[in-house]
């Protein structure tokens, strides 16, 4: 791909194919289009992997990352309506979301490389096999990254930034509620805490219980000991 527009051109056949499915008719113009879509799909990936792609590829990836970020924001906004997004979100949250998108972009690159290599080694015999191959490649790339310090750190900072931002918004709302003489979340939590304090403490529950008759003991083992029990296989 030489320009950002190529990305759209690359995706277009697949979009039409999907629309064909949704319309319930022949898939996107039939076998010729399916063939063309598959070809462009594979070529697109291959072009992303060319090391000589230079600055053009960099711009493409910047755009791809931005799209990924927008997609992530749309996803989290629909899943968690209270998730802070947009121009009013805090700087720290915005920064961490950008960092997180970069990490995801790295995973996408690795997945594309793995997928491409897999296609080269052993061409899939069906679209479904190609899809499963893509899942395998993407999951392998994700798992490789998910255990890394970079991923773990970026994710933890993202979560912490989100929570800080949400706390900031809650604080603003609480101030507003107090100004209007309305009960606040903190006051209700405080009430719950007071009610809980009226209940007997759990330790007292246990201490007050009647003594149980003696249980059969297996005996206390000598410590330390080597475990000899071997796992048993389930009966088939």
């Amino acid at each position: 791909m030489k320009s950002p527009d190529d990305l759209q051109a690359w995706l277009e056949p697949w979009r039409r194919l999907g629309e064909g499915f949704l319309a319930g008719g022949a898939p996107g113009g039939g076998v010729a289009e399916a063939n063309a879509a598959f070809t462009r799909f594979a070529e697109g990936y291959a072009s992303l992997l060319r090391p000589a792609a230079g600055a053009g590829a960099g711009r493409e990836w910047a755009r791809y990352t931005a799209e990924l970020r927008a997609l992530a924001e749309r996803f989290v906004t629909s899943a968690f309506p209270e998730w802070p997004t947009g121009p009013h979100a805090g700087n720290e949250w915005s920064r961490e979301l950008a960092n997180w998108s970069t990490v995801l972009g790295g995973i996408a690159t690795d997945a594309a490389e793995r997928f491409s290599a897999s296609l080269g080694r052993d061409p899939p015999v069906s679209l479904r096999a190609a899809f499963d191959r893509w899942i395998d490649a993407a999951e392998a790339a994700y798992q490789a990254a998910a255990h890394s310090d970079a991923f773990i750190g970026a994710q933890a900072r993202l979560v912490n930034a989100f929570v800080k931002e949400r706390a900031r918004q809650q604080d603003l709302l609480e101030r507003g509620a107090r100004a209007l003489g309305l009960p606040t979340r903190r006051e209700i939590d405080s009430l719950h805490d007071a009610l809980r304090a009226l209940r007997p403490a759990p330790a007292a529950d246990a201490a007050a219980a009647p003594a149980a008759p003696a249980a059969p003991r297996a005996g206390r083992k000598a410590a330390p000991r080597a475990r000899t029990a071997k796992p048993r296989r389930p009966r088939q």
């Binding site: 499915f21 898939p27 076998v31 010729a32 399916a34 063939n35 070809t39 594979a42 899943a79 968690f80 061409p123 899939p124 015999v125 069906s126 679209l127 479904r128 899809f131 899942i135 993407a138 999951e139 994700y142 255990h147 773990i152 750190g153 994710q155 933890a156 900072r157 979560v159 912490n160 929570v163 949400r166 706390a167 809650q170 939590d189 719950h192 805490d193 809980r196 759990p202 330790a203 529950d205 246990a206 219980a209 009647p210 149980a212 008759p213 003696a214 249980a215 059969p216 297996a218 005996g219 206390r220 083992k221 410590a223 330390p224 475990r227 029990a229 071997k230 048993r232 389930p234 088939q236």
Partner: protein, 349 residues
């Protein structure tokens, strides 16, 4: 360029896919709403949001040894009785056990300050007393996080537990393959709990799905098409989906303690857990112990469960390995082997 499949084969595949999709839609439209947890049972008592259930014995069987099941806080115990032919509870009943279940219910904001001590030395303790009914120690089966709570309880009240079964139970929370644990390390859980109050079940669900996002959010649903025109398969799938997304919110204080004490500080292994001022010592667990784990568990890796063997004081410690994942151990087509092994072990002691 990569060799392409035969174009005619692609067309056939797409048409077959479309046919299955249409058949699946028709099958779905004709299915009744799915129901879970249908084994006959009676509520012995309600304790706040929690309910203690006693299951009615299978016809022709006499109630045998008492077994109290303690499930995790993070999901619903309905997976233990997903459908009549895939039900750990029904299998235990059929094996002649007198089965009880402590159902934690759905915490709300009033439970925000509920602690692990409340759950363990309060709710669980009262359930144990009720099941025992003064007749002596009972058998305890702790599942997943419920197994961890059961270990805490059994170490503090060992005289009340005759035999302890733990199932896919995390003990060592920091084994190298525990992705969830790695992710938890840098999270400011105190601020999370302070901000959210209770932690939303949806948040936990999204976290679990993100452990294997491509398989669990894409591939699984495409694979559904394979059995979309077979009503029983579709019903089973819907039951699982209903269970997976039926996620209670987590009482804030208990959630904070669980993440900090176990995932971040690995206190169970270090022997530094204290509940309501009472030190937890797994060495006090001297009753017979059966530790059931799944060999392909991505949530509780086998090593996380098997660490128990080196920590309990019991000389009668056994393991049962089942070749499945964290959920397959309850619902796979081979899963009947698990309750059979539990019943055999309980009756043999």
């Amino acid at each position: 360029m990569t060799a392409l499949p035969d174009p005619a084969a692609i067309e056939r595949e797409l048409r077959e896919f479309q046919r299955r999709l249409a058949a699946g839609a028709a099958t779905l439209a004709g299915l009744p709403p799915v129901t879970l947890a249908t084994a006959p049972r009676d509520a012995l008592y309600v304790d706040g949001k929690a309910t203690l259930w006693r299951y009615r014995p299978s016809s022709g069987t006499k109630a045998g040894p008492k077994l109290l099941i303690v499930f995790a806080l993070v999901n619903r115990p309905t997976v233990l009785d997903l459908q009549p032919d895939r039900s750990l509870i029904r299998s235990l009943l059929a094996a002649g056990l007198d089965v009880y279940l402590l159902d934690w219910g759905y915490p709300d904001r009033g439970d925000r300050h509920t602690t692990l001590a409340d759950y363990t030395l309060g709710y669980l303790h009262r359930a144990v007393l009720r099941v025992s009914a003064g007749e002596g120690p009972i058998n305890l089966l702790g599942v997943c996080q419920g197994g961890t709570l059961s270990l805490l309880y059994a170490s503090l009240e060992p005289e009340r537990i005759a035999r302890l079964v733990t199932m896919v139970t995390p003990v060592d929370f920091q084994t190298p393959d525990n992705l969830l644990s790695k992710w938890a390390q840098g999270v400011d859980v105190a601020r999370l709990v302070e901000t959210f109050g209770n932690v939303p079940g949806e948040l936990l669900n999204a976290t679990f799905l993100s452990l294997m996002p491509f398989r669990l959010t894409l591939q699984k649903y495409l694979a559904l098409i394979d059995g979309a025109d077979r009503p029983r398969e579709l019903e089973s799938f819907l039951r699982m989906e209903q269970w997976i997304f039926d996620s209670p919110d987590q009482a804030g204080a208990a959630f904070g303690e669980f993440i900090r004490w176990f995932y971040q500080e690995n206190r169970l292994v270090k022997g530094t857990v204290s509940l309501a001022g009472r030190a937890v010592d797994l060495g006090r667990i001297t009753m017979p112990v059966l530790n059931v784990y799944a060999t392909a568990d991505h949530l509780v890796p086998p090593a996380a469960s098997r660490a128990l063997g080196g920590l309990v004081g019991s000389r009668d410690y056994r393991e049962f390995a089942f070749e499945a994942g964290h959920i397959g151990i309850y619902v796979s087509s081979r899963a009947a082997a698990v309750p059979a092994a539990i019943a055999e072990w309980l009756k043999g002691r």
